[in-house]
Amino acid sequence: MDVIYFIVQQTMFFAIPLLLVAIGGMYAERSGVINIALEGIMVMGAFTGILFISEMGDSMSGQGLLILAILISGATGMVFSLLHAFASINMKADQTISGTALNLFAPAFVIFAARMINGVQQIPFIDSFRIDSVPVLGSIPVIGDMFFKNTYITTYIGLGLYVLAAFVIAKTSFGLRLRACGEHPGAADSVGVSVKKIRYAGVIISGFLGGVGGLVFVVPTSTNFNATVAGYGFLALAVMIFGQWRSGRILGAAFFFGVMKTMASAYTSVPVLKDLGLPNDVYKMIPYIATLIVLIFTSKSSQAPRAEGIPFDRTAR
């Protein structure tokens, strides 16, 4: 049983950031803007959040500090994503180009800024955020061990944000307008929806979730930030496509990948996997190969938003 508890706990650390960032990407793309800048947004968000934790670590600690840091990361992501929104919505730029530029900019800027502030590239922080056991809930048998022990508040915040985001896009009039702008912006425009505003909203939401996702990825898995989120932004992009731009399937895809990734990094503590005696690198490759195989069977009909990547031009009919 302990093994299962351990796997579930670890899976959360991998799956939650993927889930958040992928759902953010979904907001941008379903409004009609391709956002491959997720990696860069994560890096920027993680940077300001961790910098805040590192600087304030002497005077504050615990969950309050972490929640403040999450807000700062989210705000950073929003501001940074404005650059992408401006280029792709106002300037009708090629969205891949703008996104690539931001992905290149973020780690370079973060290393530059960290070296100018601290003299070194790494930003160390003290992890005072781990929760051994959530009061009351942690003592529930089985479920308590799986979901409420050895955890971080980020897990619940992440799941909460996911539920909120999934609800908003499916059930509110804003969500409907957003989806319309991604499928047929001309139709949305004809009934008085401002495609420009909605797309800005989509990109900014992806910026917020991307920024938060960056911090949520770094905090449980490290004790210093080294200007990288290990390609998680690109993986989140993959999860979003894997999840066919739909929130329910994205949840499945994120956890599929999270479980695979956990198996790969913690196989030594799972007897069945350890007994296979495969080289370490093979375990690490498995999540990616498995994803490819699943994709082959599930991609026959792609449900990408029809208008994604195409700048909206009112005068074109």
Partner: protein
């Protein structure tokens, strides 16, 4: 008559693109300079001039360095640019690059008795393996409708971990955690180029890169196949209607893109400059630099050649700039800013038009 010609030249698409590229480069450099000023105004001017001088700061040797750095990124740039022409985003150049690099090193270490052909075999094998790596996303895209971006991302990781696994089992230098040194015969010969450029690491590889540029240019612009590829990239449905088999074209385009990246990997690691693959869980950066190069070069082979040289030039400059106490990442910030400003070409075109109109009014 003359005046009319002049007018149409200044209004032409090519002139506008050229102008907006130049403005983007200037804007990107300015952003870099402002950043230097803000962080350390005393050394900013010196640091910035180091970037601008780049490879030209240390005579022929510096130019040689630029050529050496440019060689692999011209090839990954061509790889990404070629796929762009077919409407595919080859974000997997890194994986193809790494796979090619490994095979080249493996042959360089293990195979004997090839004599003068040793390095040629290494390059050819790397090109082939790169092509195989590129074909996988192509096949999945063409026949299973899998988005090539996601396959390419997965293939980057598979390439990285797979290469690490194979290195550990074949050509591993355990003490230094990297690949073993290749035999002398496996290194691409200098052919006098390294000596000419002040005993730098430049070698015949840059000539191979230029040949690749010419080949890609010919394929894209002078062959039916290239025309089909571009037609596919512009409008898939229309090209299908015209009888073009877009599936085969997608597969071939990715194969060629992969081959170019694989060759780039071989050229970097068979350069005799003491480069080894470090066995770490990090995806090779050259593939991502290739995306920058392709975007700067606007996916045009000739443009990519110059974009590769330009990025190599300021990369050398970034190295020199460390003497003034600035991290070399400033160069990446500048590159990113240039690419971003390049994406704002609409803004720049509006700006140029405004200037023109203002001038016209003045004349009246």
């Amino acid at each position: 008559m003359n005046k009319k010609n002049k007018e149409s030249f200044f209004a032409s698409e090519g002139f506008m693109n050229g102008m907006s590229a130049i403005i983007a480069i200037i804007a990107g450099l300015l952003i870099g300079f402002v950043l230097l000023l803000v962080s350390d105004s005393a050394n900013a001017a010196e640091g910035f001039s180091a970037i601008l001088q780049g490879g030209f700061s240390s005579g022929m040797n510096g130019i040689g360095k630029t050529l050496y750095i440019a060689t692999p990124i011209i090839l990954t740039g061509l790889s990404v640019g070629f796929a762009f022409k077919t409407g595919l985003f080859n974000i997997g150049a890194s994986g193809q690059f790494t796979a090619g690099a490994f095979v080249a090193i493996y042959i360089g270490v293990k195979w004997n008795g090839l004599g003068g052909m040793h390095w040629v075999v290494g390059l050819l094998a790397a090109t082939l393996v790169g092509a195989i790596f590129g074909v996988i996303p192509g096949l999945l895209k063409a026949y299973f409708n899998v988005n090539e971006v996601i396959t390419c991302i997965m293939m980057n990781y598979i390439g990285m971990y797979g290469t690490n696994l194979l290195i550990r089992n074949t050509v591993y230098d355990e003490i230094r955690n990297r690949t073993q040194a290749v035999q002398k015969t496996a290194d691409v010969p200098s052919a006098g180029i390294g000596e000419f450029f002040g005993n730098s690491s430049a070698n015949f590889g840059i000539v191979i890169a230029i040949i690749a540029v010419i080949l890609v240019y010919v394929i894209l612009n002078k062959t039916t196949f290239g025309y089909e590829l571009k037609a596919c990239g512009k409008n898939k449905e229309a090209s299908k209607y015209a009888g073009i088999n877009s599936k085969v074209d997608i597969v071939l385009s990715m194969a060629i893109a992969g081959a170019l990246s694989g060759l780039g990997g071989a050229l970097l690691y068979l350069s005799g400059s003491g480069k080894f693959i470090q066995v770490v869980d990090v995806i090779a950066n050259e593939g991502f630099t290739g995306i920058s190069v392709a975007l700067l070069g606007m996916s045009n082979p000739i443009g990519i050649l110059f974009a590769g040289l330009f990025i190599a030039h300021i990369t050398v400059g970034g190295g020199n700039m460390q003497l003034c106490g600035f991290p070399p990442e400033v160069v990446d910030i500048i590159t990113a800013s240039i690419i971003y400003c390049g994406a704002l070409s609409l803004l720049i075109k509006l700006f140029i038009n405004k200037l023109k109109n203002a001038k016209k009014k003045g004349e009246k």
